[in-house]
């Protein structure tokens, strides 16, 4: 028995499925992610300036200050159930900035709290953000080692 004969051609079917499936409204999605992403960065710029000019922080500390405040705001908006609506509207506009990183940590922690404080909340904190840290830190160590070898 030809096992394949209950299937027709997957390639042809994929083409048919693509024809029938509605496309994302590209222009609208790009515009939304542009303005929301832009606004979050402007907020970051404002916070950096507050750090620099009001709190008299050095510039790298000022941008850390901005990150911390943005992370706090995202965590709060995630907790009260607003951030997912922003995400649905803005897509990459809200997950590409540091707010996306914070939301990626808070949302699974919140969701899996029922499964306990250790293997639920604490472990799930890193389900989405963990890979980001692993590859980010890993890459930075490689950069550091290469740089150290060049200098040596």
């Amino acid at each position: 028995m030809n096992r394949k004969n209950i299937h027709s051609d997957p390639k042809a079917y994929q083409t048919l499925a693509d024809q029938v499936s509605p496309n994302s409204k590209m222009a609208q999605m790009l515009l939304r992610s542009f303005w929301v992403g832009g606004v979050i960065c402007v907020l970051g710029q404002g916070l950096t300036d507050i750090g620099r000019l009001v709190l008299k922080l050095p510039s790298s500390a000022a941008s850390t200050f901005a990150s911390i405040v943005l992370v706090f705001l995202t965590a709060l908006l995630t907790g009260i159930g607003i951030f997912d609506k922003i995400g649905q509207y803005a897509g990459a506009g809200s997950f590409v900035p540091i707010s996306g990183f914070a939301n990626a940590m808070v949302s699974p922690a919140l969701e899996f709290r029922r499964e306990g404080l250790v293997l639920g909340l604490a472990a799930k904190l890193f389900t989405i953000a963990g890979p980001v840290l692993v590859y980010g830190i890993g890459a930075s160590v490689i950069v550091g080692l290469l740089y150290a070898i060049i200098r040596w």
Partner: protein, 345 residues
């Protein structure tokens, strides 16, 4: 034996078991949809007074069963089998609900095809004389499915236009060898489906993944029983949604067994108003066909508005593990042919 099988895939039920009880309990969003008034109960919030979404789903499942028994006027201890399932790992909703019911339980997993899978097997148990009362139930819950299959609820991700919305709802059907007080329908034939996979991998496009399985089973039913779409008042698929619905029309056309748009619809398209409720491609989940079939179509069959109806719930048989390992989505569909109990209708 000979009169109980037709062709390759279809089973004939000479005794035509009766459906004598039905119930559908749904969530708030489903209650706000076009079929809202037809459901037995609409819960106010997704937790339904429970401590977790999983427990909430179990409570929906139990409420559907209780309501079904009450409406049929049957005591729980006369139920000889409970057949059912849901979408969660190890079908915990159905198993934990069965723990509370203390009746022999056959747990089933057919993803979103569970309602037809359980109806098919339940009718066979009754037709075979192995039971006089069999209860079938299936459920899904948006929040439990979302956290198992996709992202946490509060994660800000975008839904694509082909994505479907998991229905929060449960449905229960009581099958019996006797007509009881109010027979709703009779089960005549069943075509159990084969697993079909045409290589779709996009978990946000379940309709496209499942349409070939629906087409395969429907063709088998038509071939085995020598019928065409015209022989049925309505063909009702489970949760193909807009994309799968359109693909099934195209596939059946290609197979030379065209469906008539007037006599074919999908529960996933019926349960929500896709435009005003922002539902993208429509509803999905075991609860989708379970609630729409039990809440809306069974009463219409009892009235004789539909004389012959095919319920064909479809299921996507992947798991998060298989998706992460890059596997495509295998799918299945089971078709149940039902007749109105009204004589001469």
């Amino acid at each position: 034996m000979s009169n109980k099988r037709i062709g390759m895939q279809t089973i004939n039920l000479p005794s035509k078991p009766y459906i004598i009880g039905n119930a559908a309990i749904v969530g708030k969003k489903e209650g706000e949809g076009p079929l809202g008034e037809h459901f037995d109960k609409v819960i106010e919030d997704e937790m339904n007074g429970q401590e977790s979404f999983e427990l909430a789903e179990k409570s929906l499942y139990l409420e559907a069963i209780d309501t079904c028994l009450q409406k049929a006027g049957i005591q729980a201890d006369s139920i000889q089998f409970l057949l059912g399932g849901d979408l969660l790992n190890q079908i915990i909703t159905a198993s934990y609900a069965a723990r509370d019911l203390a009746v022999p339980f056959i747990g089933l997993y057919g993803a979103c095809s569970t309602m037809s899978e359980s109806l098919g097997l339940g009718s066979m148990l009754v037709d075979g004389g192995h039971a006089s009362h069999v209860l079938c139930a299936a459920s899904s819950h948006f929040c439990t499915a979302e956290r198992q299959y996709r992202f946490p609820l509060e994660f800000g991700s975008q839904r694509t236009p082909t994505a479907q919305w998991t229905v929060t709802g449960a449905g229960a059907t009581l099958i019996s060898s006797a007509p009881g007080r109010h027979p709703l329908a009779r089960v005549v034939q069943i075509s159990f489906g084969r697993v079909v996979d045409l290589g779709i991998k996009d978990a946000n496009n379940m309709g496209a993944a499942m349409a070939p399985a629906a087409a395969d089973t429907l063709c088998a039913l038509f071939r085995d029983t020598k019928t065409t779409a015209k022989d049925y008042d309505l063909i009702l698929t489970g949760d193909l949604g807009k994309v799968g619905h359109d693909l099934l029309l195209k596939l059946m056309q290609e197979h030379g067994m065209p469906l008539d748009d007037q006599h074919y619809t999908d529960c996933g398209l019926e349960i929500f108003d896709r435009e005003s409720q922002d539902m993208h491609a429509g509803g999905s989940g075991c609860g989708c066909s379970a609630a729409v079939f039990n809440g809306f179509y069974l009463p219409l069959m009892a009235q004789g508005k539909y004389r012959r109806l095919v319920l064909m719930a479809t299921g996507a048989l992947m798991s998060p593990t298989s998706s992460q390992q890059g596997e495509s989505i295998p799918s299945i569909a089971h078709a149940i042919v039902l007749e109105t109990p009204k004589e001469g209708a």
